[in-house]
Amino acid sequence: MTTTPAKDFMAEGDSAQALTLEQVSDAGRPDRWWEVVWSSRKARVGVVIVSVYVIVAVFAPLVAPHDPLDSTFTPLAGASGDNWLGTTTDGRDIASQLIYGSRISLLVGLFGGLLATIISLVIGMVSGYAEGTIVDDILSFVTNVALVIPALPLIITLVAYSEVRGVWLIVFVIAITSWAGGARAKRAQIITLRNRDFVTAAKFSGESTTRIIFREIMPNMSSLVAAAFVGAATGAIGAEAGLAVLGLGDSQSVSWGTMLYQANAQGAITQGLWLWVFVPGLVLAILITGMSFINFGVDLLSNPHLREDA
């Protein structure tokens, strides 16, 4: 009989303990990043859109009915079973050009965005971590200069000088002209992070500066970096289209920008070939919409306040 209260107590204690543990573990386990992104309906739509584009680009030879540069079709044909969107003035299949064009846009978006993000990351983090020193002054000055110089005239000038205009040149030129905004944001972010306790602790334990910057601080900025990457990729896709529209695209392949350039140069509008003009811009707009939708989901990562009504 004397054991009962103790037993009761034990039992009670057990369940209470179990409950606390459960609560703790529930509150302690953060949502996985893809769960957070996926919780936003917009981001889900965005992921689906971009996935479709990626699949089409990867399997372009299987999806496209013809070779995009094959000019053996009847010129100026309307949409038909063989030429889904009709043909151009020099007898190329518009639908196939459209499908192969996705490769250039995605390639430039991926690598242009990646390179711009890496540059902005390195410059922003070093400059922010070295705040107040001469290193920061120089890097901040370079960033501010790069920020005020209008990008398109500079890109045009750089590309116009090169004889060979491959897709990698375009990626490179876009990246080195578009990192500044991201670098500034990352510098501001790192300045708020570098005085936190965990950074001080890392300093006292004798970690090197590079390790503190890239191993301690950077993981805390990953959502910001992800958002910046999506933004930079979107910008790169737009910049490629702008260059191509001026006739400065990759001469070896077809992109949506070069399609618009040719449509304009060969008078598609006066000849009433509206599909030729309409569709490349439309698929470009849908891709960019999909990417900005994904960024709504990525924003949820860095700002938990936005998550509630997602």
């Binding site: 005020v148 110089i149 005239p153 000038t157 702008g242 529209v245 618009l260 449509a263 509008i269 919409t289």
Partner: protein
């Protein structure tokens, strides 16, 4: 005073950086750019005035002499306003060719920039004031969607619908038969030719203002002074305009000049589509004809234009906001 000195110092330093960049770009390419260009000019079977050739060599980099000497000559010619001769419009000077196109772009960009600022700020402020209303979601979603469209594509669609299908507006150029100048037929033609290019720009450019203004305004509306103003019983209109919107305007002023770079990029593409006789079309022509002196001068000119606009915006911001003057000094 230190604020203004610092801003002016940044302007001078940036100007120097841009001028130097402009000097270095042709020299980053393999081969001797000056040699290639001089060859090109000689191939145009024209009598070359030795003085002009010398001027051009200075601009493009004389093949003889060290990089430092070239840089010195380049700066000297720049100060004297000598930018060399255009290839595609030979034997006209680059400055003369640009002078023809200059005002077309400046007027187009200034008018659309000013209009889109007003439109964007008003729409953004109203959307923030009526946050989560139907108006707000239409404006926010609408600008997100319009922001994904390419300026060149919008221009082509406008051209297709209003130029060719409906025939309401002329489809290319800047004017028809009138003589350029301040006479009524010319102004009328110029306006009707500029309408569609301006519209194409106006579809894209206000978006930054709308979203920026909406965000700052929403932030300001959460501040205590707004609550106090409401508690005092001030009418909604006064709280919205004199308290919230007025303060939210400040960041937009600095944004004004930075956005100019983007508008300029849009204008280059739009001018291309409409064959509008401005700097953007000239840039396209320069690219197509490999008219490097023209291209580089255009790059320099547009960049310096944006820099000057930035300086003005910074100085204005210092006058408008005393906090900016005190901070960091």
């Amino acid at each position: 005073m230190r604020y203004f000195a610092r801003k002016f110092g940044f302007f001078v330093a940036t100007l120097w950086a841009v001028v130097t960049l402009n000097f270095l770009i042709p020299r980053l390419q393999p081969g001797d750019p000056a040699e290639i260009m001089v060859k090109k000019l000689a191939g145009k079977d024209a009598q070359l005035d030795p003085a002009q050739v010398r001027a051009m060599r200075a601009m493009l980099g004389a093949p003889d002499g060290s990089l430092v000497q070239q840089y010195g000559t380049y700066l000297g010619e720049l100060v004297r306003g000598n930018f060399g001769l255009s290839y595609s419009y030979y034997p006209f000077k680059v400055t003369e060719v640009i002078g023809q196109a200059f005002w077309w772009t400046v007027i187009l960009v200034t008018v659309t920039q000013a209009l889109s600022f007003v439109v964007g700020v008003v729409l953004g402020a109203y959307a923030a004031w009526r946050r989560n209303s139907r108006f707000d979601s239409v404006v926010t979603l609408g600008s997100t969607f319009l922001g994904t469209l390419q300026p060149f594509w919008i221009a082509l669609l406008l051209l297709y619908v209003f130029g060719y299908s409906l025939g309401w507006f002329p489809t290319s150029g800047g004017y028809e038969e009138s003589t350029p100048g301040l006479n009524f037929p010319f102004v009328q033609e110029a306006v009707s030719h500029s309408f569609l290019p301006a519209l194409a720009l106006l579809i894209v450019t206000p978006i930054g203002w709308i979203l920026g203004m909406r965000n700052t305004m929403i932030m300001n509306l959460g501040e205590d002074y707004i609550r106090l103003a409401k508690a005092k019983g001030l009418p909604d209109r006064v709280v919205a305009l004199k308290y919230a919107a007025r303060n939210a305007l400040l960041p937009s002023v600095t944004g004004f000049a930075l956005a100019l770079g983007g508008v300029l990029g849009g204008a280059i593409l739009v001018e291309q589509a409409f064959d509008y006789p401005g700097l953007g079309r000239l840039m396209g022509e320069a690219v197509e004809n490999k008219d490097y002196p023209l291209l580089q001068t255009l790059m320099l000119l547009t960049t310096v234009g944006v820099l000057v606009a930035n300086l003005v915006a910074d100085l204005l911001y210092g006058v408008l906001d005393p906090r900016a003057r005190r901070a960091q000094s």
